[in-house]
Symmetry: C2
Subunit: 161 residues, 2 copies
């Protein structure tokens, strides 16, 4: 089935917010942000993007398929690393411009740096941040689940400065 | 303190990913996406954006301050509705292009439509989605926490088609 067949048109604010038609909003680059959390723990694993094809494919196969902005291609998460994200639930927000995936991660890691979650550092705030220039991050997760070099080999790092 | 003082420059991929300097990446519009979850339940409450000033202000006061793309101004969440988001923890992801806020919500709601979370509808997938054209959403949360008309009055709805 083509993506255009499963998505409804965005006719009115009321229908988008209170209705039951899936009418996602893709931005000027054709992308929608995606928040992925661990189904069991609620932990935030990663933040990524989908285009129409990625969302349609995710809905079809029940595994997370994103759009890789660095590689400019569909990205079936885990195709290289084996760390597939099996979907338990997909949600959409009020104005349908964001997708929430609740997943089980095969192999227990979602971050290309090797940590379980991409969000392994915290930012101090209020008194703890006062007078810091620049602010220093705290490591909340010190233990890598896998060695990226072994899993990804010489594949280019997706991080862009 | 000025935002430029608390943010470090993005010098190398290694420093951004493995270092302890806060060096967030703002996109071509000067924005960084923000994921906000409930500190106690882990529930995803909302997805929004910050610019440099919003992130600096959030770090300073320990309450969520976003950039409103529809109103094009700083948006101290709860200033109108009273539903302030008190911050327990701020995290940043591997390549520092996304912020995660773990918050307590005063009043128990984060969604301008009146629900606790913006993500009150789910998208069926795999067998459940087969042959649906367009796909029909399921309501997972039927109970509004507040009446938006009473709280926001005639303020314009932020949802854009």
């Amino acid at each position: 089935m083509e993506p255009k067949d499963i998505f409804a048109e965005r006719i009115s604010v009321e229908e988008v917010e209170e209705g039951d038609q899936l009418a996602p909003k893709f931005d000027s680059e054709g992308l929608i942000p995606v928040v992925t959390t661990d189904y069991k723990t609620g932990e935030l694993l990663m933040h990524a993007y989908m285009n129409q094809d990625a969302l349609a494919k995710t809905i079809e196969i029940g595994e997370a398929v994103y759009w890789s902005r660095s590689r400019q291609c569909l990205w079936h998460k885990g195709a290289t690393s084996g760390l597939v994200q099996k979907i338990h639930e997909i949600r959409v927000d009020d104005d349908q411009d964001c997708i929430w995936l609740r997943v089980d991660v095969m192999g227990g890691a979602s971050c290309h740096v090797g940590y379980r979650s991409c969000f392994y550092r915290s930012i101090p705030f209020s008194e703890e941040a006062e007078g810091k220039s620049p602010i220093t991050l705290n490591f909340e997760d010190m233990e890598k689940v896998f060695d990226p070099k072994k899993v990804y080999g010489d594949a280019p790092n997706p991080t862009r400065l």
